[in-house]
């Protein structure tokens, strides 16, 4: 990567080392715990699906029973393997029997490990093979598709009805979008279960369910056939069910997941420990499935001022990177987030946006940066918003961003109309094509405004990381270091789902998932 900003490599290395130690401190305890949603994800991976008579998902029924009896700390899979031996039934039948009151979870007899271990390992290997098959399917489709042009065009659909979403997703793909996100119901992140089946309601979007994943995947696969381009599908691996959403996405060939390490804590008031434990397991699944994660630093700038707090984005990206590496994600899978949110009334605001975007590019040269459009300062004046979005696109092509979430001219008015997406794609295509190699032609003035801003951002991010390293990330979150939001260590939703692992805790998935990343021939960053 060309060093256009005159950055001091020693400071970059120092910041990365501090973030690494921050991540190490978290990992000193993360592996001591499991959570209800991690065990439910295990249940889903080995094929348990469906709902009971009351509509409760079977993974929840099973995990709740085990939790009530204090058995969850041993791991769901060891219990399941023993239940399979004693009943002669498969995972789904066993879950149904528990839900129907025909099988008491505490009635499954204890067995020495050598009696059930092979069965458990086999179930996990089978699940991993399914995920691998979906990953290879994607790789093959991509190999035969037209080569990608970056930045990739990312749009959202949010009709609230999955069948309508599928129509709009396909239309967006035909118009030229490369990446389609199906927005979830605004309340889903706080549900401690994943709804089941196709859904046709919800506000701000409909639910993320495995069936809904399938429906939109099918529509986009049709678009792939028609356009000859690979169209990526995105959903939200955040909230109280991160690992389960990851499992579903891996099985249904989603391509990207919003999957931040701290987003749930800050923006959904989910318990700190719960989130940090869940993000680790969910990211291992995403890593193994070849899914690109998107981190959520852009959100900081919607609550805090983008100019004043730009350095917190940089600091958080370093932390997200280090945590992601520990889950086996490669740099090429880390869509680190940032945003074009500086107040448009600011003199030289464009220069400050360029500095921030170029800085992200140089600090994380192999990561497919995710660049978010202006939302905070745009109004109902669609003409003005359209222009600001053009400036946003210009900064992106100039600084080599890779995942461009397109700004909508009706942002701040309503969820996008079909035509809003068309106009957004037209805007981006025009700017990207018209200024395609601008970045190669431009160098920044030595110690000029852009270089000075970038250096200031990096220096402040480094100082912040050193301070966080000293007090620990938990304390930093309590003091409101990110997004101006303060969260207490023991507060938030979902902490009752955190379970201390017993000595004989059994879950073969992390080893399988991490093995692949370790085995990869890679000269990328190591943690």
């Amino acid at each position: 990567m060309e060093n256009k900003l005159n950055l001091d490599q020693a400071i970059i290395d120092g910041a990365r080392a501090a973030a690494s130690r921050i991540a190490d401190a978290l990992h000193s305890w993360i592996s001591l715990y499991t959570t209800t949603t991690i065990e439910r994800a295990v249940a889903r991976l080995v094929g348990i699906d469906g709902v009971d008579a009351a509509g409760v998902p079977l993974p929840n029924v099973l995990v709740d029973r085990l939790h009530e009896k204090g058995l969850l700390g041993h791991g769901l899979l060891s219990w399941l393997a023993r239940a399979m031996i004693s009943t002669g039934q498969g995972p789904q039948e066993i879950a149904e029997a528990v839900a129907g009151g025909k099988l008491d979870v505490s009635a499954v007899p204890a067995l020495p490990e050598e009696k059930w271990r092979d069965l458990g390992d086999g179930l996990a290997a089978e699940a991993a093979a399914k995920i691998t098959a979906r990953r290879l399917e994607r790789e093959q489709m991509m190999a035969t598709a037209a080569p990608e042009r970056k930045p990739l065009l990312y749009v959202i659909v949010a009709t609230g009805n999955i069948y309508e979403d599928a129509v709009q997703a396909k239309a967006a793909a035909l118009q030229g979008a490369d990446i389609i996100a199906v927005i979830r119901h605004t309340g889903q992140s706080l549900l401690d279960y994943v709804p089941y089946g196709p859904t046709t309601e919800g506000y701000g979007g409909t639910y993320a369910t495995q069936e809904n994943f399938r429906i939109v995947r099918r529509a986009l696969d049709e678009a792939i056939k028609e356009t000859g381009r690979y169209i990526r599908l995105v959903n939200y691996c955040s909230g109280l069910c991160m690992p389960e959403i990851a499992a579903m996405g891996a099985l249904e060939r989603l391509d990207m997941m919003l999957n931040d390490a701290m987003y749930g804590i800050l923006f959904r008031d989910i318990n700190m420990r719960r989130t940090l434990i869940d993000q680790h397991f969910s990211r291992m699944i995403n890593a193994f499935a070849g899914i690109i994660i998107n981190t959520g630093e852009d959100n900081y700038l919607t609550t805090a001022d983008a100019y004043e707090k730009g350095y917190t984005v940089i600091a958080s990206q370093f932390i997200n990177e280090q945590l992601a590496l520990r889950s086996g994600l490669r740099e090429e899978q880390m869509g680190l987030g940032h945003a074009f949110e500086i107040n448009p009334a600011m003199e030289d605001g464009l220069l400050m946006e360029i500095a921030q975007a170029q800085l992200c590019r140089e600090l994380f040269p192999r990561s497919p940066l995710k660049y978010m459009p202006p939302t905070k300062h745009v109004t109902g004046d669609i003409f003005s918003t359209y222009l600001i979005n053009g400036m946003f696109n210009l900064v992106s092509i100039l600084t080599g961003q890779e995942i461009q979430l397109l700004g909508m001219l009706t942002e701040a008015i309503h969820t996008p109309f079909l035509s809003d997406r068309y106009l957004a794609i037209k805007n981006a295509r025009y700017v990207f094509n018209n200024a395609r190699h601008l970045g190669e032609e431009i160098i920044f003035k030595e110690q000029g405004r852009i270089q000075a801003r970038a250096v200031e951002l990096l220096n402040r991010a480094y100082a912040l990381l050193k301070e966080i390293e000293k007090i620990g990330l938990e304390e930093a979150l309590e003091r409101g270091f990110f997004a101006d939001i303060k969260r207490s260590r023991d507060g938030g939703k979902g902490k009752e789902g955190v379970v201390l692992k017993e000595k004989d805790y059994y879950n073969p998935f992390p080893e399988i998932f991490l093995q692949r990343s370790a085995a990869k021939d890679d000269d990328g960053r190591a943690c």
């Binding site: 701000g204 001022d305 109902g380 068309y422």
Partner: protein
């Protein structure tokens, strides 16, 4: 140029030309039939000599249009009556001084973004210490005691907190408006407050990008604040209204 305020028409570049622009999508494939369909639709909207200046193929059987036309209708501007908040807007210092002088007690405000709405941008701009556009938020007002409950707060919980803190005013923000969810949420809050007999014990104020004062009054609120509202606007209303009620 003499404008007849009893017959105001849209203005393009000549008085009373009635010129308007619009854009829309039709669920039919682009083509001459689609263009004619767009023109006819504009005619049915009442536009005279509509011109389809752009037709674009959106794929998947959809087409997009930009249309110009002349709207023959006019409105009587002189007959329009809009309910407005009558209170003057005071500065940060003036509000605090007013509270010390007139109310002689701290003003307690409980605020939240209710229902499933997760967008705190509005409530944060008004309540958080930092405020918005250089105006401090209510948390910074020495004479205010402000509680920002954040997003996705159920209406019942908001009311419970309001009672617990002895709130003088409840602030509700609604950003998501899909399928009019904001109207349902806002109505439910007022109904709950009435059912619990606390509607008149405190001020109920709502805000958001699609909220107007008029709409708020219609929904049973004391005031509504739309886009461009700053913390001191809300603070001014609260303290003036509390003072007015105190005198009654």
């Amino acid at each position: 140029m003499q404008v007849d305020l009893t017959k105001v028409k849209a203005y393009g570049d000549t008085l009373n030309d009635g010129a308007v622009q619009l854009s829309f999508t039709l669920p039919v494939p682009a083509g001459e039939e689609a263009r004619e369909a767009a023109r006819q639709l504009a005619l049915k909207m009442g536009l005279e000599s509509p011109a389809v200046t752009e037709m674009a193929d959106l794929g998947a059987g959809f087409s997009f249009f930009v249309v110009y036309g002349r709207c023959p209708h006019s409105v009587d501007y002189t007959a329009i009556k809009i309910p407005k908040r009558e209170h003057e807007i005071m500065s940060f210092d003036e509000v605090n001084e007013f509270v010390r002088r007139e109310l002689k007690k701290k003003v307690v405000v409980v605020a939240a973004c209710t229902g499933t709405d997760a967008h705190t941008v509005g409530i944060d701009a008004i309540v958080n210490m930092k405020g918005y556009a250089g105006e401090y938020g209510l948390e910074r007002y020495p004479e205010f005691e402000a509680y920002n409950l954040g997003s996705q707060v159920p209406n019942a919980e908001l009311l419970a907190k309001a009672v617990e803190h002895g709130a003088d005013a409840v602030l509700v923000s609604q950003v998501v408006t899909q399928k009019n969810i904001h109207l349902e949420n806002l109505t439910e809050l007022i109904e709950l407050a009435e059912a619990e007999g606390i509607r008149d014990r405190m001020l109920f104020i709502c805000g958001g990008p699609r909220i107007s004062h008029e709409l708020a009054i219609e929904l049973g609120y004391d005031a509504g604040f739309g886009p461009g509202t700053l913390p001191n606007h809300v603070a001014s209303f609260i303290v003036k209204e509390l003072a007015r009620r105190k005198k009654q």
